[in-house]
Symmetry: C2
Subunit: 367 residues, 2 copies
């Protein structure tokens, strides 16, 4: 990697680490007889998308119809939009459904009734199930509403029921890996009850789960048929703190120029702010943390002996406090690396990547 060519904040990607992260998840899916339908909202990149193909992946997840169009244009033919359908986008739904196996996520009768009238091509659909996160979805035990959705959709031959889809987003609030596994077990228990209720009528029912912490840590998927993790390809500081990955699995780092130093406060100011990292943060030892310092080298990056964090962030500036020794080693005009707290949001802001092999890698430019 030619660090001399980096003049402004640049998102660096270690392809080997990405491939290893994909391989591990693909092997886990195979071992447990699961459909591996990775979420592409993390990388949002056609080039990175193609890396999955050599691991046998031909089904993907995205979070918006615009992202579905982007990947459909790169010849992905089986795409689930894991976000409650936005019926205002019916034109895009119809144009995508003509070209691909498009799967929508539904959770209310109003959307089903609208789609029944307006769909021009066949789409699959998953019913979004809430297993405890409390954000979206029908609670796993409200069979009455699930039955209503199924009944309403059954009058439309363009709506094909695929199964139930959930996302244990509350795993991100877990205090340790034991709690993540407990959340996973609880979700599996609830989804199993749901499956038992509907499997006779729908023998090809797919039970689909999605978050990176549980998919990384769990080793029992029981009645689950499909996994949709996304972040695992890059991981990040948040996942590392949750215990989903070890530090060496993290595959992205933001290279940031050093623009100022304040000796009295032992503070380093970098070009790298909210418009690069996002403002997502972790709390570490009662401090807001926006990223972690690493030292860049020709091959990638390495950890410092002691941990140093990005603790202040404005629109363009980032601030780190370090020891005197490190303060003296870091020069104005130098480059330091910062492991992002939340790689998905950082990649979404940075838009493209520079690989450690000096390759520029694309990122979807829309929203």
């Amino acid at each position: 990697m030619n660090l001399e060519n980096i003049v402004s904040p640049t998102l660096i990607l270690d392809k080997k680490k990405c491939l290893n992260n994909i391989r591990l998840m693909a092997e886990k899916a195979k071992k447990h007889n699961l459909i591996f339908r990775p979420h592409f909202k993390t990388h949002q990149s056609r080039i990175i998308g193609r890396w999955f193909k050599k691991f046998g992946v031909d089904k993907i997840t995205v979070s918006s119809l615009q992202m579905a169009e982007y990947f459909s244009n790169d010849d992905w033919k089986d795409i689930t939009v894991a976000f409650p359908v936005n019926i205002r986008e019916i034109e895009t739904i119809n144009s995508l459904a003509e070209e691909t196996q498009l799967n929508l996520t539904l959770e209310n009768v109003e959307s089903v009734e609208f789609l029944s009238k307006e769909l021009k091509f066949e789409v699959g659909f998953f019913i979004k199930i809430d297993t405890g996160y409390g954000r979206t979805g029908v609670s796993f035990d409200i069979f009455l509403l699930i039955d209503k959705i199924l009944k309403s959709s059954s009058t439309c031959n363009k709506l094909v029921f695929k199964g139930f889809l959930s996302h244990s987003g509350h795993a991100y609030n877990a205090k340790d890996t034991t709690e993540i596994i407990d959340i996973h077990k609880d979700a599996i228990h609830k989804l199993t009850l749901l499956k038992q209720q509907y499997i006779d009528k729908y023998p090809e029912l797919i039970m689909s789960i999605g978050d990176t912490p549980t998919c990384s840590l769990a080793d029992d998927f029981s009645e689950i048929n499909e996994i949709r993790p996304g972040n695992f390809i890059f991981y990040d500081l948040m996942q590392n703190k949750l215990g989903s990955c070890n530090f060496n699995q993290i595959a992205t780092v933001l290279a940031c120029p050093v623009v100022a130093k304040h000796k009295d406060r032992k503070e380093i100011i970098i070009h790298g702010g909210g418009i690069h990292f996002s403002k997502d943060f972790l709390r570490i030892e009662d401090k807001k943390v926006f990223g972690k310092l690493v030292l860049l080298n020709k091959k990638g990056w390495e950890e410092t002996e002691q941990d140093f964090y990005l603790t202040k962030l404005s629109q363009e500036h980032g601030t780190l406090q370090v020891t005197s020794d490190l303060f003296n080693e870091i020069n104005i005009g130098g480059l330091i690396g910062i492991i992002p707290v939340h790689a998905c949001l950082t990649a979404n802001l940075m838009k493209d990547y520079l690989s450690t092999d000096d390759e520029i890698i694309d990122h979807f430019s829309g929203k």
Copy 2:
């Protein structure tokens, strides 16, 4: 405004409100005999930039060299980059300096020495002064370092000293408008001492200040020569809570499709998340708040009688809790408006605007 045409999250802009916000600030600058050098990092738009010209603005502020290039390409000829110079970008500095009156921000001798060797064209420079924010800049009373920078720069005929530049970012943490004014008075006091020290040697010295809260609220600028507010053109929920503007001055709102409703929790789920709003938040009544609900109409938007806030935000989803009455009025597939907490970051993510006159307005696509 044709709301029917809005199908996905869209940043709406009220041009009349923007023009009024510009007019008020331009009049204030004129009244106090101040150079009005607005910060264009808020809107990052060539079209909006041109609106300033009719108020006599011909000098602007930006936060990166890439943004300087974007506006230089639209014929802005006097541009201050209010961010500590990143010497790795020397090529861009030289190419911009050939075309425009480029003003850099310096705060250390290392950068001066580097520029002295590498500059090919004349640039102006401001020394960044810290009046209490504690982020960047030389403390207002460390004359020793200021003298070193001035001495070092004096050996290079391409470095022209313009003055001192400060940003009272700590005004954003003020608990009320009295505290904002106190911060402003304190900054003016410190900058006046500094001016007295250097005015004899540099009779054309410019004292430049920058934040929207103090520029909006203060009515005494004493020894100050230039103001660089940016956010005031849009304002936002944060500025409204600080007291910098009234609610009707806020000029942007994000139109968001309603994708789900949860009656048991009286929660509305919108398409509108961290990739649209950013994750900046305010605390209101001990809750994290990411935006405020307004009702959209053909002319723009109006407040609800009671206040409702966007209190949960993930990558694509936003959640609001409302009353039963409002819950029943808002339909799946409908549109609601959300006033952003921090308009600069929201505009930076959304990239373009739709005016209430149905005009699409550009936004710089880089970083």
